[in-house]
Symmetry: C2
Subunit: 242 residues, 2 copies
C-alpha cells in the first residue's frame, strides 16, 4: 500500500492529493477545459491512442497533452509531432502522477499559452494498472486501457482501476486471431467491477472502434461547454445522454 | 514515489523492508532454499511461465509458490493444479509484495510443511513494472518479464525494474510475426539499463526458449546447494559460470 499518512505533517496524503486535484479541476473549469486522465499497464497502447486522437481531433478542438513518464520524453516527442503543446513530467521513481505534478503542468499551460483557448487536456499517466487509479489529478473523467494481450482476468485481479474508470478501452483488437482470448469475457469481467463504464473495443492499427472513442471524447467536451457554470455532469448523466 | 519515511515510527520504510527481506533470506538460506522473485506488468505471462516451470521441474526439485495478487486466488488456483504448495497472499490495495507479507507466507511454509525439504520457492509478485522492483522480499535473484507486445521502449521508460533484474525474460515470442517489433532492439534497450542481466527470449505457447530458462533456474538451485555456508554467489559469479 502507498503510505498515505504523513505523521510529521499530520496530513492524510490521499486527502492532500484530493484537495490538489479539486484545485486543478477548478482551474480547468474556469478555462472551459475538459481533462481526461488516461491510464493503463505499460504497453497497453496509451500513446498510440493519443496519437490517433490528436490526428483526428486537433483541427476540431484545441488540445494540450500533459505527459507523465518516470524517465525520458520518448512519448512526449511522439505526440509533439502532432503540433500540439505537450508538457512532459518526469516522475523519477514515482509510479503515478499526483495532483501536485499535474499542477506543475497546468502552471506551464497557464504561463506559456492562453489556457482559455483550450478545449481538452489529455493526461497520459505512468504505465501502471494499480497506483494511478488512487490519485486524482483534477480530471473530469478517467480513461483506462486494457490490451487483449493482458488476459481476460485482469479486471478481477486489479479491481480499483476498473472500478474507477469512466471509459474502458479494450485495445489491440487486431491481435485477437492470434490469441486464446474471449473479448466478451473481458467485457463481462469489466461489468462485474463497474456496471456503468463505457466499454469501447478498439484497434489503433486497423482503426476499428476509434470512431466510437472519438465520439465519446467529443461528447465529454460538448457537455462541458454546455454547462454554463462550468460544473461537471455525473457519470450517470453522461451515460444517459450518450 | 512511495512514502518511504514514517515519522511516527522514526524509521525509513524501505530500510525496514530491507531488514525484513534479510531476515526472510536467512530463513531460506538455513533451509537450503533458493528464492526467485518473479515480476512484470500485468499480463506479461508470469503465471503461465510458472505453470510451465512447475510442469517441467516438479519431479526434479521440491518447489513451493508464494503467490501475490491484489484480490482473488485465480493465479494460485492455476498453479495448485501442479500439485505443489501454493501460498496465496492477497495484498488488497497494495501494488507490490513487501518482505512482511512474504514473511507471512514463509510462516505458513514453516508450519504446514517441512521447509528443509524444499529446494525452490517461486514468488509471483503483483503485476506492476514499477513498485515491486523497490521492495526486496528475501529473494536470491529477481526475474523480470517483458512481453514483446509491450513495446521496445519499456526498459528505457521503466528503468528501475530493468536495472534490478538478474534474469530478464522477453515473453510471447510467438506473437512476433503479428507485431511491428524488433526484439534485438528490446535486448539493446535492456542492455543499456543493465549490462549483466541474463536475457532469455521465450514463448510459453510454443516452448521456444523455455529450456534456457529452466537451465537458468536449475543453475540457481545448484549453486545454492554447493555453497556450504548457505551464502549466495554474486550475479557476476552466476553469469561467469553460466
Amino acid at each position: 500500500m502507498h503510505q498515505t499518512f504523513d505523521a510529521a505533517l499530520g496530513i492524510n496524503l490521499l486527502h492532500a492529493n484530493q484537495a490538489g486535484a479539486d484545485h486543478n479541476r477548478a482551474h480547468f473549469d474556469q478555462w472551459g477545459i475538459t481533462c481526461l486522465n488516461v491510464m493503463s499497464s505499460p504497453g497497453s497502447g496509451k500513446t498510440v491512442l493519443l496519437e490517433r486522437t490528436l490526428a483526428a481531433l486537433r483541427n476540431q478542438l484545441k488540445i494540450a497533452v500533459i505527459e507523465g513518464d518516470m524517465t525520458t520524453e520518448l512519448d512526449a516527442d511522439r505526440l509533439r509531432q502532432y503540433d500540439v503543446p505537450v508538457i512532459a513530467i518526469n516522475t523519477g521513481r514515482s509510479c503515478h502522477l499526483d495532483s501536485k505534478m499535474v499542477a506543475g503542468g497546468i502552471h506551464t499551460l497557464e504561463h506559456q499559452y492562453n489556457p482559455s483557448d483550450f478545449d481538452l487536456v489529455l493526461v497520459e499517466n505512468v504505465g501502471n494498472l494499480v497506483c494511478p487509479a488512487e490519485f486524482e489529478v483534477g480530471e473530469h473523467a478517467k480513461v483506462a486501457l486494457l490490451s487483449i494481450t493482458e488476459g481476460e482476468d485482469k479486471p478481477l485481479k486489479y479491481p480499483v482501476m476498473f472500478q474507477e474508470a469512466d471509459c474502458l478501452l479494450i485495445t489491440k483488437l487486431d491481435l485477437a486471431p492470434y490469441l486464446d482470448v474471449d473479448i466478451s469475457r473481458i467485457e463481462a469481467n469489466v461489468r462485474q467491477m463497474n456496471p456503468n463504464a463505457q466499454i469501447i473495443p478498439v484497434s489503433a492499427k486497423t482503426g476499428e472502434g476509434l470512431d466510437l472513442w472519438l465520439d465519446w471524447v467529443r461528447l465529454q467536451v460538448a457537455m462541458k461547454s454546455q454547462l454554463s457554470e462550468g460544473t461537471v455532469a455525473t457519470d450517470t448523466d453522461v451515460m444517459m445522454s450518450y
